[in-house]
């Protein structure tokens, strides 16, 4: 075996290790939250401020809804992981979401197109439950018609 061959044998395992680590970090799995229930049947959006601005800019509408979240963590039982609340980028444009919790999950806020950590640690029960009060914020100029907003929880395994 000459010098060239030795170098090849050394670098190949290293490269494979890096690729595997990268793939492991990117593995996010959407969590089954089909047992969650909305307490209010609808999200009524109201002007954040009833008064319009003098300049005409910035006219957000806000609306709240409460969800009894029940997510199925059976596949990750007795494992450690990180749970994120994800609000994908979607029509009609930028959407803000903030929420408060009863303590099982973390409160937070985000803009559409991003996600925020709501739990990190060992999964000890098949289901995780909490009551979240969401507040959506959308610019009034985008509220031409009813706006469906989709979000989900996703798991990153440690």
């Amino acid at each position: 075996m000459n010098t060239v061959h030795l170098r090849f044998a050394f670098f190949l395992p290293l490269a494979l290790t890096i690729i595997w680590a990268s793939a492991a970090q990117a593995k996010s799995i959407t969590i089954d939250d089909s047992a969650s229930q909305a307490i209010e049947p609808s999200v009524s959006m109201h002007w954040k401020t009833a008064a319009p601005s003098r300049s005409g800019g910035g006219n957000p509408m806000v609306g709240t809804m409460t969800i009894r979240v029940r997510i199925n963590l059976t596949p990750w039982l007795r494992h450690s992981g990180r749970i994120y609340l994800s609000l994908p980028a979607q029509a009609p444009g930028p959407i803000g979401l903030s929420w408060i919790t009863q303590g099982r999950l973390l409160p937070g806020q985000l803009q559409s197109g991003s996600r925020v950590l709501v739990y990190a640690g060992r999964i000890t029960t098949p289901f995780m439950e909490d009551t979240l009060t969401f507040q959506f914020t959308v610019d009034g100029s985008l509220m031409r018609r009813a706006v469906p907003v989709t979000y989900h929880f996703e798991m990153d395994e440690d």
Partner: protein, 227 residues
């Protein structure tokens, strides 16, 4: 309203527990919650010509709950704008300044002293709407054919004009200068949506004809129309 797209439930997942990770990944598109946001009572309008009405204060400052301090109301007062032309000056071509009995000097937006009375008449308001911000509300004046006196003598409304300005004002006036038409409906301004709009009008009588002496009057009605 809230709704769920078709999704796999927990029972569906259990039989394939060994491959749960792969199954969950494959079903990503159906594991999401959809909340439908609907604008509730998104529209409101307020037009004030002369005196208006707000109860509880001005619109600003906005309170902690996001609501304005004051609440707009309905004031049925009809304000007058008038002038007296001395006999020696009638028809001499020198425009005669008109004054108003309106006492509205402050903007209900923030209480700022925007107009000066009796020289200026306040006109302002807002058009609150969700959706596209390009459409504007129109403010029109419905003008009689002429001012009349008790004897049936007439004076064309087109003899009355106005200029537009306000204290510390800047930019184009939402209710610009103009002259009344002799009967008909004319646009006197626009209100861009979700914007507070206001101007102060100063009226004048052209005084370039010699009508019969008398007390001439007429009523102009202002209307706001949303798209």
């Amino acid at each position: 309203m809230s709704s769920r797209p078709e999704r796999l439930n927990a029972c569906t997942l259990r039989p394939a527990l060994a491959g749960a990770v792969l199954l969950a990944a494959a079903s990503t598109s159906v594991l999401a919650y959809t909340a439908t946001l609907t604008a509730a009572a998104p529209e409101a309008i307020y037009l004030q010509v002369g005196v208006g009405l707000f109860t509880g204060g001005n619109y600003t400052p906005i309170k902690g709950d996001g609501q304005p301090t004051g609440t707009p109301g309905n004031n049925t007062t009809i304000n007058n704008v008038s002038t007296y032309v001395p006999q020696a000056d009638v028809g001499n071509g020198a425009a005669q300044a008109m004054t108003t009995d309106s006492t509205a000097t402050q903007s209900y937006w923030d209480g700022f002293t925007f107009c000066s009375v009796p020289a200026q008449l306040y006109i302002g308001g807002f058009y609150r709407t969700a959706g596209g911000s390009t459409a504007a509300a129109q403010v029109t004046a419905t003008v009689p054919a002429a001012l009349t006196d008790p004897h049936g003598d007439t004076l064309p409304f087109s003899k009355i004009s106005w200029t537009s300005a306000g204290n510390d004002d800047e930019g184009a006036e939402p209710f610009p200068a103009g002259t009344f038409v002799n009967g008909g409906v004319q646009t006197v301004g626009t209100m861009a949506s979700n914007t507070w709009n206001e101007s102060c009008w100063t009226f004048s009588y052209s005084n370039n004809t010699v009508p019969k002496s008398g007390y001439y009057s007429g009523t102009v009605t202002y209307t706001m129309t949303t798209p």
